[in-house]
């Protein structure tokens, strides 16, 4: 199929598709109401072919959604057959097993038609500020307790909003105007991208299916060549983290055979009775993300990059939990997967992998309560620790890896909530020692100026089990959670009294290679 494209024409058309999804992302960010989207960049945009395989994605995105969106659309089409879709339809869901792994992200997909023919989907996923239930905490014991589940639904039918679906959402979330406003922004982003795609196809006369096939084939070849260059064999690794009631162990075996690669998570901890389970789509997403960073960081990501890779995790494990497991805090396990993959690959490509990161996972903190004037507010902030030491250079300090979210500026969060940030500073020396040091974590001290108590949920990690060193490097400093002098575990729900102070210390990254003096050379 790709015979009609050469080194020039494919490059030009490919770049054009990327610019369309980047514009889509800009529209979503600018029209969104939620600070997590507009300040935190907690969303992703993607173009998929008619077969729901991914073609291009927005440049600045969070890795998790990029991996889950194609799977989401595929699963949506199982419930709402493709043949029944018409122009103006928009599909939405937040089902963790179909969507991004927890209820707090809504995935929205819009079929794109050329005349009568369905030629593509634009899809995006974004973190909404509330979905009812227990907010954003790991305490849930099943998905029903965690909040509102929007089954795969036609949110729009022939361009008309399905008010039944909108009402279910409106009456089940705490800040309905913001949540529905954000979902509308997601719909509009898909719509505007559809218009741009239509113009591009009309002007170029290209067949989108052929173009996507050419993109995927080229990418697949690049990935296979990168895998082929690795020595065949089986490479195991293991990582232990705090978990909820007790430690969680992730075991992985990477098998390289010719130009294909398999990752199997057999032997990992069983699913947890609490909300830290990573549904398989999410597991797959962060595993492939880690692999792509090492194997081919240059090729713009698409389904072709995934074809040579197969991932398996036993059903009923924490990396492939069964319905109706609780999953709200699935990132505390899923964010660890790149570190596990890097550890497995370290012996065969030591110059391309980094040590375990204290920034994995990201630390969300959610506040619920009333401000000084008694108005209800909900705010989620996200803070990062230090990255693992890197080949040739230290890990970055306080950086969002592997998630890729911005912090909310202190001045913005103080303007929209009764919180004040007394301190936001790096913790010198918190990165693990090594030939290349781990990046430092940060200390964030937040005081409540609310008139009444605030409910606070922290979803951290690495308080008991710090980020590991790699190839002789030392582990990073563990994290800490303190409220008015009392120390809490990494996942905690508590009440912050008026004037009370919360101190978060995010973990440092692991060091890479033996510290100077221990290096045999």
């Amino acid at each position: 199929m790709s015979i009609r494209f050469d080194a020039v024409s494919l490059e030009i058309a490919w770049k054009r598709l990327i610019s369309i999804v980047d514009q889509m992302a800009a529209t979503l960010k600018r029209t969104s109401f939620s600070p997590l989207v507009r300040e935190g960049n907690d969303f992703s945009c993607i173009l998929l072919g008619a077969d729901a395989s991914s073609a291009v994605q927005s440049t600045l995105s969070t890795p998790s959604f990029l991996g889950t969106l194609p799977y989401t659309v595929e699963q949506m089409l199982r419930q709402i057959p493709r043949e029944t879709l018409v122009p103006g339809d928009v599909l939405a869901t937040n089902d963790p097993w179909i969507g991004t792994g927890h209820l707090l992200d809504v995935s929205v997909a819009t079929p794109i038609f050329q005349g009568e023919r369905l030629i593509a989907f634009f899809a995006n996923a974004a973190h909404v500020p509330d979905i009812g239930g227990i907010g954003f905490a790991a305490t849930g014991s099943d998905v029903q307790e965690e909040g509102l589940l929007i089954p795969v639904s036609r949110l729009y039918r022939r361009g008309e909003r399905n008010e039944d679906v909108a009402n279910f959402i409106r009456y089940n979330v705490r800040v309905p105007d913001v949540v529905l406003g954000d979902i509308e922004a997601q719909v509009a982003a898909n719509h505007s991208a559809g218009r741009l795609l239509g113009e591009f196809l009309a002007e170029s006369g290209l067949d989108l299916g052929e173009l996507i096939a050419a993109i995927q084939d080229r990418s697949e070849r690049a990935l296979r060549a990168a895998i082929q260059a690795l020595p065949d064999g089986v490479y195991p690794s293991e990582l232990t983290s705090d978990g909820y009631d007790g430690p969680v162990t992730l075991r992985c075996r990477v098998r390289v055979a010719g130009d294909a690669l398999e990752v199997d998570f057999a032997g990992s901890s069983p699913q947890s009775p609490r909300g830290i389970n990573s549904v398989f789509g999410y597991t797959q997403s962060y595993t492939t993300y880690g692999l792509k960073c090492v194997l081919d960081s240059l090729t713009p990501n698409n389904a072709g990059c995934l074809r040579p890779i197969r991932i398996t995790a036993p059903a009923g494990s924490i990396l492939n939990p069964r319905w109706p497991a609780a999953t709200l805090a699935r990132h505390v396990v899923g964010n660890l997967l790149p570190s596990v993959v890097f550890a497995a690959l370290a012996p065969i490509c030591p110059d391309r992998v980094i040590a375990d990161s204290g920034s994995a996972p990201i630390w969300p903190v959610r506040f619920d309560g009333a401000d000084a004037e008694g108005r209800a507010f909900t705010l989620t902030l996200q803070y990062s620790g230090g990255q693992g030491g890197r080949p040739g250079k230290p890990g970055l300090s306080a950086v969002s890896f592997p998630a890729n979210a911005s912090n909310t500026p202190v001045e913005v969060l103080e303007s929209i909530s009764p919180l004040s940030v007394l301190e936001k500073a790096l913790i010198p020396g918190s990165g693990g020692a090594g030939r290349f040091r781990g990046g430092d974590g940060q200390r964030v001290t937040i005081r409540s100026g609310a008139a009444g108590p605030l409910k606070v949920s922290v979803l951290g990690e690495r308080v008991r089990y710090p980020a590991m060193g790699s190839m002789g490097g030392s582990p990073g400093r563990p994290g800490f959670v303190r409220v008015d002098g009392t120390t809490y575990p990494s996942k905690a729900v508590f009440t912050l009294p008026p004037g009370g102070t919360l101190v978060l210390e995010t973990p440092g990254g692991g060091g890479l290679g033996p510290p100077s003096g221990e290096d045999g050379s």
């Binding site: 770049k15 529209t27 960081s297 300090s397 306080a398 500026p409 936001k424």
Partner: protein
């Protein structure tokens, strides 16, 4: 303009001069820049283009790349930052996001102030502007002591919520100035009074870092001008496209960040006004970058943020953020020196890496071995081996062909012809794509624009860029080489003011809005008076940054004189929001956040160059690459011999010393009274672009 005016533009390689005498006649001059002491070239050039005695000159206008170069090359002064206690790491932490998702080895931009020179002031102001912790005198003394023990010459002060309540910054500045007279002080509440501490601190630090350098430069020039009997006004071009008094420029040098490019866009705006074009895309393509800017109704479009000194060339997010009113420049790593290569996927890449002036393109034969856009243009026949820079430099076509074969054609499995056309077409698409995103984001249609092309490579690539955007009219003004300096002469004196003062529409009195604008007008007129403009002929443009309550980003709404009520303001917001996003939200409240007033004096008339006497217009024929047809002999014309009223037909080539107009497809070319060349392309011209697989391959 009465009296003699001189404009100079300090670029990386050349300093250009344009002088307009009392009769309105234009004189141009160029000399090599003196990067180690930029004012030397200015002073010497002024003597050459006019005289040592400047008493007859009434106006000197300057633009410079000094500020951006100073940041990029890290040649600023030792500078410090004072931050609120507990937040001294704000430059190191930034926004925590990574600008490349998959690259594990990215570097963050290194702050201009080393961490050991970030000092903490014990104080706190809350989001409402109330003092929570008074400014602590002991911490000020400690900071002053530390500065005294260091080589620090300039201090940025950025305290939390100072955009709302500047009193702690002001008190700190007074105290430091008392202890260290002569210390440069930049306050975030004056430099960039906008919410978001990292971006505001970054902007303030840039200001502090370059301030001593600009003071030396502008102050030094003022002193020399004074000694040479200059009694007029000395003004500098600011990034927002207005001229500012040189003393203001010294206080807020960060406003000069895009001084040079702004002058180019203003020159295009001048052309737009003179020729009555309502929508113009200014297209300036040089050796390493291309800069595009929208000009609507004669005014170049304004933005409020940018990035400087990117760690990865042209990678968004990898630079130091700047919050300032500045012309909205779309900057792309595409120029004559951009290097072409085949990447790991077997696909063609052009730029952003550049061969620069040294070693330069392979055809310069100065040691460059990588093929560049200029090499491809040469092999396509678009450039003349014997008439590059008016014949001052001979190009080596054989070297170009070898480099192109070795690095592009063979590894990319392409014929040489397909490779060179591919390079030309891809670099055009890269520029067109950036422009397209920018235009469509504003709810506009690229096809409604006219392209004004300049810079050394602009006229060579204008036809292809226009074709890719569906643009059917191209204007190539004369004197491409000093076009930016012409923009300085044509620029009106102007100021842009803003006040962050959030109000919900329909709540409060409209008379408060009137009062706000009246106060800004008062300030603005005073500032214009300093720069030598009277109140007569001053035009005002009101703009308001607005959003739905709860959104985090504002859109800028231009409001005409007829908007005199909350309802009218709301209607204006709805109209712009609908244009941008295709819908409005009927039930949501609307907020006005920042109120902006632009005041401009009258634009000056600029004369025309005296064209030298000319021989025959047609120089001969040359075979150039025409897509779908192959190599075709086309007429080559001497631009200097073309007189107003001349009419030509494309495909054709028109050569002048510093650039070449290449029309590789059909078009009607005419010369107007201003000596502009206008190319009218057929309306269905788009898609003629080869490179699409559906078209015949040129091989």
């Amino acid at each position: 303009m009465s009296g003699i005016g001189v404009a100079f533009d300090t670029g990386g390689t050349f300093t250009d001069f344009v002088l307009q005498d009392e009769q309105g006649e234009i004189r141009i001059w160029k000399r090599l820049s003196t990067p180690d002491a930029p004012s030397e070239a200015v002073v010497a050039g002024l003597s050459e283009v006019w005289a040592d005695d400047l008493s007859g000159v009434s106006l000197i206008l300057g633009s410079t790349t000094l500020v951006s170069n100073c940041v990029i090359e890290r040649k600023g002064a030792p500078a410090a930052l004072v931050a609120t206690a507990g937040h001294a790491d704000l430059l190191e932490i930034g926004r925590e996001i990574r600008y490349d998702l998959y690259d594990l080895l990215i570097d963050r931009p290194v702050p201009l102030v080393p961490r050991r020179w970030v000092f903490e002031a014990r104080e706190r102001i809350d989001a409402a502007g109330a003092v929570v912790v008074p400014l602590d005198g002991a911490s000020i003394e400690a900071i002053a002591d530390a500065i005294g023990r260091s080589p620090i010459r300039s201090v940025a002060v950025c305290l939390l919520h100072a955009y709302r309540e500047p009193r702690h910054e002001q008190a700190l500045a007074r105290a430091l100035a008392a202890r260290h007279p002569g210390l440069c002080l930049s306050l975030s509440s004056e430099v960039a009074p906008e919410i978001r501490e990292y971006e505001r601190a970054s902007t303030t630090v840039i200001n502090a870092y370059v301030q001593p350098v600009i003071q030396g430069y502008a102050g030094g020039l003022r002193e020399v001008f004074g000694r040479r009997q200059f009694g007029g006004n000395f003004l500098m071009m600011a990034s927002h496209g207005g001229l500012v008094d040189s003393r203001t420029a010294e206080r807020f040098p960060v406003r000069l960040l895009e001084s040079g490019p702004a002058a180019g866009a203003l020159a295009a705006a001048h052309v737009a006004r003179e020729t009555g074009r309502r929508r113009v895309l200014s297209f300036d393509m040089g050796g390493t970058t291309a800069k595009l800017c929208l000009v609507m109704d004669g005014r170049a479009s304004l933005g409020s943020e940018a990035e400087v000194a990117q760690v990865y060339r042209f990678k968004r997010g990898s630079g130091l953020p700047v919050k300032q009113p500045m012309l909205e420049m779309i900057e792309i790593g595409a120029g004559g020196g951009s290097i072409a290569a085949i990447n790991h996927l077997g696909l063609l890449q052009v730029g952003p890496e550049s061969a620069g002036a040294a070693p330069g393109p392979a055809c310069y034969a100065l040691g460059g071995e990588q093929p560049t856009v200029t090499d491809a243009d040469l092999v396509l026949g678009y450039l003349d081996t014997d008439y590059f820079l008016g014949g001052r430099m001979k190009l080596d076509g054989a070297r170009a062909a070898v480099a192109l074969m070795d690095h592009v054609a063979r590894p990319g499995d392409l014929t040489l012809e397909r490779a060179v056309w591919g390079i030309h077409d891809l670099v055009n698409e890269n520029m067109a794509a950036a422009a397209r995103v920018h235009i469509v984001e504003r709810g506009l249609d690229p096809r409604a624009f006219d392209l004004v092309a300049f810079g050394g490579a602009g006229p060579v690539h204008a036809y292809g860029v226009a074709t890719r955007l569906g643009i059917t009219r191209i204007v190539v003004p004369p004197l491409a080489g000093v076009f930016s300096s012409l923009g300085l002469l044509a620029a009106p004196l102007s100021v842009d003011l803003s006040r962050s003062h959030p109000m919900t529409l329909g709540q409060g009195r409209w008379s408060d809005v009137d009062a706000l604008f009246a106060a800004m007008r008062h300030d603005g007129l005073a500032r214009l008076a300093v720069a030598g403009a009277g109140e007569e002929g001053v035009t005002a443009h009101r703009r308001v940054d607005m959003r739905y309550a709860g959104q985090g980003f504002e859109i800028t709404v231009e409001i005409g004189p007829d908007v005199r009520s909350w309802d009218a303001l709301g209607d204006a917001f709805d109209a712009v929001y609908r244009t941008l996003f295709g819908r409005t939200m009927p039930d949501a409240r609307v907020e006005a956040v920042t109120w902006r007033l632009g005041l401009s004096g009258p634009a000056r008339a600029v004369g025309l160059p005296r064209w030298k006497e000319a021989g025959p217009a047609k120089k001969g024929d040359r075979a150039i690459w025409v897509p779908d047809r192959g190599r075709v002999p086309v007429p080559v014309y001497d631009r200097y011999a073309l007189r107003p009223g001349a009419r030509l037909a494309g495909p054709a080539v028109v050569e002048e010393a510093e650039s070449t107009v290449v029309a590789w497809g059909p078009c009607a070319i005419s010369v107007d009274e201003r000596l502009d060349l206008t190319l009218e392309l057929p309306v269905d011209g788009r898609g003629a672009a080869a490179g699409e697989p559906s078209k015949k391959n040129p091989d």
